[in-house]
Amino acid sequence: MVLSRFLDNRNRLGMLFMLPAAAILLIFLTYPLGLGVWLGFTDTKVGRGGEWIGLENYEWLWTDSVFRLSIFNTFLYTVVASVLKFGLGLWLALLLNKHMPFKSFVRAIVLLPFIVPTVLSAIAFWWLYDAQFSIISWVLVKLGLIDQYINFLGEPNLARASTIAANTWRGVPFVAICLLAGLQTIPPSLYEAASIDGASPWQQFWHVTLPMLSPIIAVVMTFSVLFTFTDFQLIWVLTRGGPINATHLMATLSFQRAIPGGALGEGAAIATAMIPFLLAAILFSYFGLQRRRWQQGGSDK
C-alpha cells in the first residue's frame, strides 16, 4: 500500500496512465467486437450499408450445409490437433528436461517452427504436400511402400490429416517449451523423496510430475485450443478450405464469405457464432487458474 493520502491523486494518475492503452483497446477492440455482433444481424455487403434483418443470417446459415460442415471441421481440427500437440508436446518436454549434450542449443532450435511466420512455414508445407513433386511421396515410392504419388491436399480426409499435421508441427514446440518451464519448477527433492519411497519412474511421472504440472497444462492447453479453434492462416495457405470445403474452418469460411464474397453481414454472423465456443474455453481457463491457486496453497505468496 502506498500513501493512502494520495488516494485521489493515485486514482487520477492511474486513469491518466491507463488512457492510451484503454483508448486504443476501446476503439479497436471493444467497439469492433460489438460492431461485429451487430453486423451479424444485418445484410451489409461490401460498399453498401446494411439493414437490420434480425436472425435471418443465422437462419440461413443453419440450413447451409457448408456452414455445418465448417463447424464439424473446426471441432475435428481443434480436438485432433490439440490432443496431438499435448501428447507430443509433453513427451518432447520430458525429453528436453533430461541431461544431454548441447542442451540449451537443442532447446533453442526446437522453438523455430513456432517463431517463423506461420504463413511462410505453411508455404513450405504446401511444397512438401505438392501432388506431383512431394518429397514425402518420393521417399515412400523409393522405399516401395506406395506406387502412386499421394494427393495430400486433394482428397478430403487426406487434406484434413495434412492440415492437422502441419498445425501440430507448429504447435508442439510451444506446448513443449511451456511445459518444460513448468517441469523445471518442480523441486528435484520431490523426485528424490518419491524414489526413496519406492516409486518407479512411471509412478513418479503419474504421482509427482503430472499433478505438479496440471495447472500449467490447463492454461497452456486453453491457449492452444483457443488459437487452433480460430486458426486461419494455415488453412488459407494450404487449401483455402478445399477440396470441396472439406477443410473449411469457421474462420476461413467467414473470411471467404465476407471479403472475396462481399457478404460482410453473413461473414460477421459466422465469426460471431465462434464466440460461444471461445467463451466456453475462457471459462475453462478461468477455472484452471482457480484450481492452480488452490493447489499451490500458501506456497505462492
Binding site: V116, A181, V237
Partner: protein, 280 residues
C-alpha cells in the same frame, strides 16, 4: 538418478526419440532452404538425389528482389512492426504500472479485462475492423495495420509487464518516496531500469507477432506495393497454376530470417516472454 541408466538405454529412451523430433521439426526449414537454391531444372526432374543441390543458383533470389515488389514488402513489414511495437510497448508500460502499482480503484477489474482482451482472436475482429478501416479512410495504408496490431500487442505486453512489475519489491518504491522522488521519477528511475528484461521480452515478442500477422494484412491491404511479406508472398508470387516453388521458398526463407536472427540473439528473453505470459 540418471547415473543408473545405461548408455544404450538412454539412446532408446532419450536420444533416438529426440532426434526424430528434431528431424521432423527442422526438415521443412532444410527443404525450404534447399529449394530456394535449386535451379528449376533440378526441381522438376525426378532423377538424382533430391536431398542435395547439384548446381546451386541465386536466380530465385534475383527474381524476388528485382522482378517483384518483395523489397517494398520487406520495408513495409519492418516499418509497421517497429512502429506498432513501440506504440504498444509505450502504452503497455503505463497501463501495467498503473494496474500493478498505482492500484487505482477498479485496477483488478482492469487487469482481468486486459487478460480477456488478450484472448479475443483476430479472426472474429477482422470484418468489423475492415468496415472501420474503410470509414476512417485508411484502407490500403500502413496506418490500417499500425493502428490495429496494438489490439493484440497491448494486451499481451501489458500482461507480461504486469508480471515483471509485480516482481519488483514495493519497498524500493516506498524508499524512493521517502528519498523524495515523485511518481514519475519512480517510474523512470527505479521501475523502468529494473524492468529492462521484461521490456526486451515484450518488445521482441510483439515484434514477432506483428511480423507474423496475416489476416488483417490480407484484409486491409490491396495494392501490391503496400503488402507485408507474408501476404505478398502468398498472393503475388503464385501466378495461376504455375507455382514458382524456387522463388516462393526464397521468399519464405528471406521473410523468416529477420525473426529467426532476432530470436537467436534473444532466445532467453523470448522463452521468458512466452512462458511468462502463460504462467501468470
Amino acid at each position: 538418478m540418471d547415473y543408473l541408466e545405461s548408455l544404450p538405454r538412454r539412446w532408446v529412451t532419450v536420444y533416438i526419440p529426440l532426434l526424430i523430433f528434431l528431424f521432423v521439426l527442422l526438415f521443412p526449414f532444410y527443404w525450404m532452404g534447399l529449394t530456394a537454391f535449386k535451379p528449376n531444372a533440378e526441381l522438376l526432374s525426378s532423377n538424382g538425389n533430391p536431398f542435395w543441390v547439384q548446381n546451386p543458383t541465386l536466380d530465385h533470389f534475383k527474381k524476388l528482389f528485382f522482378e517483384t515488389s518483395y523489397p517494398s514488402w520487406m520495408w513495409n513489414t519492418i516499418i509497421i512492426s517497429v512502429i506498432s511495437t513501440f506504440l504498444s510497448l509505450a502504452a503497455s508500460v503505463f497501463a501495467a504500472y498503473s494496474i500493478e502499482r498505482l492500484r487505482f480503484r477498479g485496477s483488478r477489474q482492469t487487469g482481468l479485462a486486459i487478460f480477456l482482451a488478450y484472448l479475443v482472436p483476430p479472426s472474429i475482429l477482422f470484418i468489423p475492423l475492415a468496415t472501420m478501416v474503410f470509414q476512417f479512410g485508411i484502407f490500403d495504408t500502413k496506418w490500417a495495420l499500425i493502428l490495429t496490431y496494438p489490439t493484440f500487442l497491448i494486451p499481451f505486453c501489458t500482461w507480461l509487464l504486469m508480471g515483471y512489475f509485480r516482481s519488483i519489491p514495493y519497498e524500493l518504491e516506498e524508499c524512493a518516496l521517502i528519498d523524495g522522488a515523485t511518481r514519475w521519477q519512480i517510474l523512470v528511475k527505479i521501475i523502468l531500469p529494473l524492468a529492462v528484461p521484461g521490456l526486451i521480452s515484450a518488445g521482441i515478442f510483439a515484434f514477432t507477432l506483428s511480423w507474423n500477422e496475416f489476416i488483417y494484412a490480407l484484409t486491409f491491404i490491396s495494392a501490391s506495393e503496400n503488402k507485408t511479406v507474408p501476404v505478398g508472398v502468398i498472393t503475388e508470387l503464385v501466378e495461376g497454376d504455375v507455382y514458382h516453388w524456387g522463388s516462393l521458398m526464397a521468399g519464405a526463407l528471406v521473410g523468416s530470417l529477420p525473426v529467426a536472427i532476432m530470436y537467436s540473439f534473444f532466445v532467453e528473453y523470448y522463452v521468458a516472454g512466452m512462458t511468462g505470459a502463460v504462467k501468470e
